[in-house]
């Protein structure tokens, strides 16, 4: 107890205790989710390096997790989306306050092109963040992306299938994402500092309207055609 209080008396940053997260030199970028900030070194998303997001299925909130970060994109900064598996839908993203004119979407023919484009985006130093969907990527390519991300101090959010958790990775942060009735289920697989003990559930606003209006009735009756106009086909 005495030793502990002596440690407390020391200026912060001088001694790091193994059971604490290093909250040192580079504060992170707030995620917009207090529970997640609390668990991440630096109190937020790392400002450089790979963040792997291992998502089970689309629609669980894997984009909403990043919306607070993306909405803070500065003037003259880009957020590059490399090889998204589906079409990002402009009305939803614009509604979240993301500057779409600074959000280029890159379509890549194959994984090699996607990796090339990701690396160019990282190396340019012009990006607030880079989002990439690359299913198959080997260790050497991951390491090159990690180096490019560190050199230009750009975070790369790399979406991968959950099976990738078995593969080692140079990423600074790895999160496994899963859907949950209460929000987004986040399991921190790897972070700088002691391993995380238990998974979190982040409450998502899910911007789908008031749950009070949720329906538990069958679908409405079939619309009767009014015959105002001629229908095609």
């Amino acid at each position: 107890m005495a030793a502990s209080s002596a440690l407390e008396a020391l200026p912060s940053g001088l001694v790091w205790r193994a059971d604490r997260l290093a909250r040192g030199t580079t504060p992170g970028e707030p995620t917009g989710f207090a529970a997640l900030d609390h668990e991440l070194p630096g109190g937020g998303w790392p400002r450089e390096g790979i963040v792997e997001l291992l998502a089970t299925t689309p629609g669980i909130g894997e984009i909403e997790l990043l919306l607070p970060l993306l909405a803070r994109t500065g003037v003259d900064r880009l957020v590059v989306w490399v090889a998204p598996p589906r079409l990002p839908y402009a009305p939803a993203l614009a509604h979240s306050g993301i500057p779409l004119e600074r959000m280029p979407v890159v379509v890549a023919q194959d994984a090699a092109a996607a990796i090339w484009a990701t690396r160019q985006a990282l190396a340019s130093g012009a990006c607030h963040a880079v989002l990439a969907w690359i299913e198959r990527i080997d260790m050497a390519a991951l390491r090159r992306l990690q180096l490019a991300a560190e050199d230009s101090a750009t975070p790369l959010f790399l979406y991968r299938p959950p099976q990738a958790a078995r593969q080692p990775s140079p990423a600074v942060l790895r999160l496994a994402l899963a859907g949950d009735r209460a929000g987004l289920h986040v399991d921190i697989l790897k972070r700088r500092g002691p391993p995380a003990t238990e998974p979190l559930t982040l409450p998502l606003s899910r911007s789908v309207g008031d749950p009070a209006h949720a329906v538990d009735r069958p679908a409405p009756a079939r619309a009767v055609r009014a015959g105002v106009h001629a229908r095609h086909g």
Partner: protein, 461 residues
């Protein structure tokens, strides 16, 4: 000769022959001469002596085009320049000497420009255009100050035939008189010369010495840059092609520099041996004049290309220069650097992957979900991007996927009826719901009134 060799760094020995009935060699480079090929020789004989030499037919059109390109490149040194075909350009530089730091510095800058184009310069400097032309042939320069005309006297007789009306017969006559230098010509009795139809000689001498005016028609730089380069050997490899392109780009940059402009798109045409043409447009996000960036875009574009056949000739066409004011460097870093990095990144991605692969999305005011989001060119300006406040998913499926019945789904929100588009034939009547799938993902589904089926249309990412 140089019009053929400029496209490559290491040429084979080369010689050019004319298109007479019995073709003769009219020029040979040093290595060809070392192999025994000399100008004046019959082509057949030269072939027999040195089979390794590449023989090319003289291409007058290409020579004219190259001279035009050279004139465009020289236009940054002075606006007053005149062409003296087939191989000479006269620049009036008296007003430019101070800007470029004197005679030596100007000549050096000129030589550097020409080296970039892959041409070798021989220059002469004199107060009158004809004298400068003659001095260039002799590779000497007139002394500065009064009495410079005396330096003309040392020039050989043959220069009289260059850039003047003096006929070959007259030159022959003078040579038969035993004259070798201009000094001797000048000492001949004037009346005698005039009587022997050699008035042109007197006239040329007077013009060279500045005793009579010598007006020239100034060359007008073309509003459009088009340059053609023939490769010495047809190739499908990127590296030699890039080297040749760098020659063209050097000309483009000089042309742009003369107009204080940049270029944001240009066309590169690759002519194959069978005269088919591969043509592509290189686009950049902002007007460029930097060699490194223009070459980088071209390199990305060329390396992404598979050529159907070896390339014989390259053509670069640019016709929309954009005025670009000069920029003064900032003491505390460049505030525009971020913007420049972003533009460079987009240029690079587009050059390699194609403009269709790099775009941005933008909302569009239409109630039909498929039409409410559009793909735009990545540098399209931000328009009116107001949006609906009804729930919309972050991912949209390109075409709705039938999901059978709505069983096992938990309704979270809805219905939202979307009924629109009867006026353009893409009519739809749907009830949209937000549902929770068994794995807790949120889906955007609808029931189509036309067939009563349920469809998945998006995921709430």
């Amino acid at each position: 000769m140089q019009v053929f060799t400029r496209a490559t760094a290491e040429a084979a020995p080369c010689a050019v022959f004319d298109d007479a009935r019995r073709p003769c060699v009219i020029a040979a480079d040093t290595r060809a001469r070392a192999l025994g090929v000399h100008s004046g020789e019959a082509l057949m004989a030269a072939h027999a002596i040195a089979p390794d030499v590449v023989f090319r037919a003289r291409d007058t059109a290409l020579e004219v085009a190259t001279l035009d390109e050279l004139a465009a490149a020289c236009a940054r040194f002075t606006p007053s320049l005149a062409l003296a075909p087939p191989d000479t350009i006269l620049l009036e530089v008296s007003a430019s000497l101070r800007l470029f730091g004197g005679r030596e510095a100007l000549l050096q800058a000129l030589a550097d420009t020409l080296t970039g184009l892959g041409l070798i310069m021989r220059s002469g400097l004199a107060p009158t255009p004809l004298a400068a032309h003659w001095f260039a042939l002799a590779a000497t320069t007139a002394p500065v100050g009064p009495g410079w005309q005396d330096a003309l006297d040392a020039l050989p007789l043959e220069v009289l035939g260059i850039g003047t009306d003096v006929s070959a017969a007259t030159l022959e006559l003078l040579a038969e008189l035993g004259l070798q230098r201009l000094a001797q010509v000048r000492r001949l009795p004037r009346e005698g010369l005039a009587r022997r139809q050699a008035r042109a000689v007197l006239d040329a001498l007077a013009r060279a010495r500045g005793e009579v005016p010598d007006p020239r028609r100034w060359h007008e730089p073309p509003a459009r840059f088009a340059s053609t380069l023939a490769l010495p050997v047809a190739t499908a490899n990127t590296e030699p092609l890039l080297f040749a392109v760098s020659r063209l780009v050097a000309g483009l940059i000089a042309w742009l520099a003369a107009r204080h402009a940049g270029i944001d798109r240009f066309t590169l045409e690759l002519v194959h041996e069978d005269h088919s043409v591969t043509s592509f447009v290189i686009i950049s996000g902002e007007p460029l004049r930097e060699n490194s960036r223009l070459m980088l875009l071209t390199r990305e574009r060329l390396s992404a290309l598979t050529l159907p056949a070896p390339v014989d000739t390259l053509r670069l066409i640019a016709d929309a220069p954009v005025l670009r004011p000069g920029r003064t460097p900032d003491l505390f870093g460049d505030p525009a650097r971020n913007h420049e990095n972003a533009v460079l990144l987009l240029d690079r991605l587009r050059a390699r992957l194609g403009p269709q692969a790099v775009r941005r999305i933008a909302p569009w005011p239409d109630h039909r979900p498929e039409r409410a989001s559009r793909m735009l060119p990545v540098d399209a300006p931000a328009g009116d991007e107001s949006t609906t406040c009804a729930p919309r998913p972050a991912w949209l499926l390109e075409r709705p996927r039938p999901i059978g019945a709505a069983e096992g789904l938990e309704f979270v929100a809805g219905p939202e009826r979307i009924e629109s588009g009867w006026w353009d034939g893409a009519d739809l009547q749907r009830d949209y719901f937000v549902v929770r799938a068994p794995d807790a993902a949120l889906w955007w589904v609808f029931r189509d009134h036309s067939d009563d089926g349920w469809y998945l249309h998006g995921h709430f990412g």
